[in-house]
């Protein structure tokens, strides 16, 4: 009995220490990426603009169709639920208030973050994991090419630029979807809807959503890279760490979102 308890405690201890180690690795990766972004030129090893554009295309432009489709659907769903709930109190006119604030501050960044985590975070983990197994990372090192500068920094820049951009687009599409349903159901004109929205939603609310989505982009990159770098055991290992990367990214996004919301609503 005591031995089993001891084993369990040891396992917990190991998990906790490996968790801390991952945090540490994330911090080192972030620091190194920032170092190469800022100091790369001085070291004659700049972060390549073409590589960054490629990543931007992959993270941002290629994700536009799915983000648009999901955002439109969620916007309409929010309007449907909002009107249904508020009708109980006879306050369905207030649906614009609920939809406007929740989309710009929460749903836009959250849905975009989750979709990017599933789409790009997983592919980043799989790509780095495969590169590790096929010795491509070693090849970079022995060629004198820093892997963080070559792989991580462009991905980080692309994520920090494109996730907020996608969030802005997603919020816009969600509000359009919601407005479309509201005008159909409540007969509110597009002009009245926009006027009401601009009354309620301030620039600060939009910046709140965009600011935290940049943080989400950074988290997705670091989680993807760490999990990719930890791949071992061939194709099965790649699959396992890719799944882990998506799950951890989504957890990290939701926890960060909660902390961000708590802090932001108190300032």
């Amino acid at each position: 009995m005591l031995t089993r308890l001891g084993d369990q405690l040891e396992r917990m201890g190991r998990s906790a220490s490996s968790g801390f180690a991952e945090f540490g690795l994330g911090a080192v990766l972030l620091f190194q990426s920032l170092f190469w972004i800022v100091m790369g030129h001085r070291r004659a090893q700049p972060v390549r603009i073409e590589a960054t554009f490629e990543r931007c295309m992959e993270v941002g432009i290629m994700a536009v169709p799915i983000i648009t489709l999901m955002s439109l659907t969620i916007g309409m769903m929010l309007a449907i639920q909002g009107i249904y709930s508020l009708r109980i109190f006879g306050a369905e006119e207030q649906v614009v208030l609920g939809v406007g604030m929740s989309v710009v501050r929460e749903f836009g960044p959250l849905i975009t973050g989750i979709l990017v985590a599933g789409r790009t975070g997983s592919s980043l983990a799989a790509r780095i994991g495969t590169m590790r197994i096929s010795q491509e990372i070693d090849a970079l090192s022995v060629m004198g090419i820093n892997p963080v500068r070559f792989i991580v920094a462009p991905a980080l820049i692309a994520m920090v630029i494109m996730v907020p951009t996608l969030t802005f687009w997603s919020s816009l599409v969600m509000l359009t979807g919601a407005g479309w349903y509201i005008s159909l159901d409540l007969g509110m004109s597009a002009g009245a809807y926009i006027d009401r929205l601009t009354e309620i939603v301030k620039v600060g609310d939009v910046m709140h959503g965009i600011g935290k989505s940049a943080l989400f982009g950074m988290l997705i990159t670091l989680v993807g890279v760490i999990n990719g770098a930890m791949v071992s055991g061939g194709a099965e290992g790649v699959g396992r760490m890719t799944t882990r990367s998506v799950v951890l990214s989504i957890c990290a996004i939701i926890v960060t979102d909660m902390i961000f919301a708590f802090i932001a609503t108190r300032s």
Partner: protein, 285 residues
């Protein structure tokens, strides 16, 4: 540099005296490495001279890949020194190490070609990252190296579209694109049919002749080792059994070397009782 330039019909191996007189390119002293708590290399001493082909040979688990990783700076040794071109690999700054690595080329066992780049872009990559040459010059240089390894015409293929021999050739082309002074090849003929394997061996010999580079080859293919080596370093369980010319290794009285050369398995060498104890997992007395 054309293929014709690289072909040396009267190819001659340097004598031991010539090798001994050449400058030292790689110097390993008392190298000890660990994986976790397990000691893998137990005090390795080795020198590779200019223009020499040194083959590191040994069975599975002998430590040859660990030694290669240490030589490449991918594995930090527990103790001992590795000096490459006179510089202590593990004592120099990152900037100096990056510069040093530009003088080293590595052809990995599986090629390690970047799967997202075509063959030409893979070969151009070191030039793009370390030189300020214009795009056309870089591409011309890469094509020249492709011609050297007989890979002309396959520039636009992706690594997934290449055969095993072509991957090895592309990896060699990328390894020599910066005209390195030292070339490392990890199992260059592993997994290839005898004809392609022999062609890769010829290619390595031609590269040495044409570019006067030192070449370190890690292999367990005896035929290939005897064909290309000036000297052979035989590793066994993390120790060097011998370093010598092909003839010296062939004629070595050391039983373990002869077992390796005659492809005798450990099971055949072991005392039958000890073998049985190992199979059943019981402790030997």
């Amino acid at each position: 540099m054309s293929q014709a330039v690289l072909e040396h019909p009267a190819r001659r191996k340097p004598s031991m005296t010539e090798i001994a007189a050449a400058p030292i390119m790689i110097e390993v002293r008392d190298l000890v490495t660990h994986y976790g708590k397990r000691e893998i290399l137990h005090g390795i001493n080795l020198e590779v001279r200019q223009g020499e082909i040194m083959v590191i040979m040994g069975g599975s688990g002998s430590g040859k890949s660990t030694l290669l990783n240490a030589l490449l700076g991918l594995l930090r040794p527990t103790s001992g020194t590795i000096r490459i071109l006179g510089q202590d690999l593990n004592a120099i700054s990152d900037v100096e190490r990056t510069k040093l690595r530009q003088k080293m080329g590595v052809a990995f066992q599986g090629g390690a070609l970047f799967s997202s780049l075509n063959v030409l872009d893979n070969i151009v990559l070191p030039l793009r990252e370390h030189t300020k040459l214009d795009r056309n010059t870089m591409r011309i240089m890469a094509r020249m190296k492709m011609q050297v390894v007989n890979l002309s015409g396959f520039e636009n293929l992706m690594p997934a579209e290449l055969s095993g021999g072509m991957i090895k050739r592309a990896a060699l082309a990328r390894a020599i694109v910066m005209d390195p002074r030292i070339l490392f090849c990890d199992e260059p003929s592993a997994g290839l049919d005898p004809v392609v394997s022999s062609a890769i061996d010829d290619l390595i010999l031609n590269l040495r002749e044409a570019m006067d580079m030192s070449i370190v080859v890690v292999t367990h293919e005896l035929e290939s080792a005897f064909k290309i080596a000036d000297r052979i370093c035989v590793l066994d369980k993390g120790h060097i059994l011998t370093i010598g010319s092909v003839e010296e290794v062939r004629n070595s009285p050391n039983e373990r070397i002869q077992n390796l050369l005659n492809r005798r398995t450990e099971a055949e060498i072991l005392d039958p009782d000890e073998y049985l104890r190992r199979l059943t997992g019981t402790q030997s007395q």
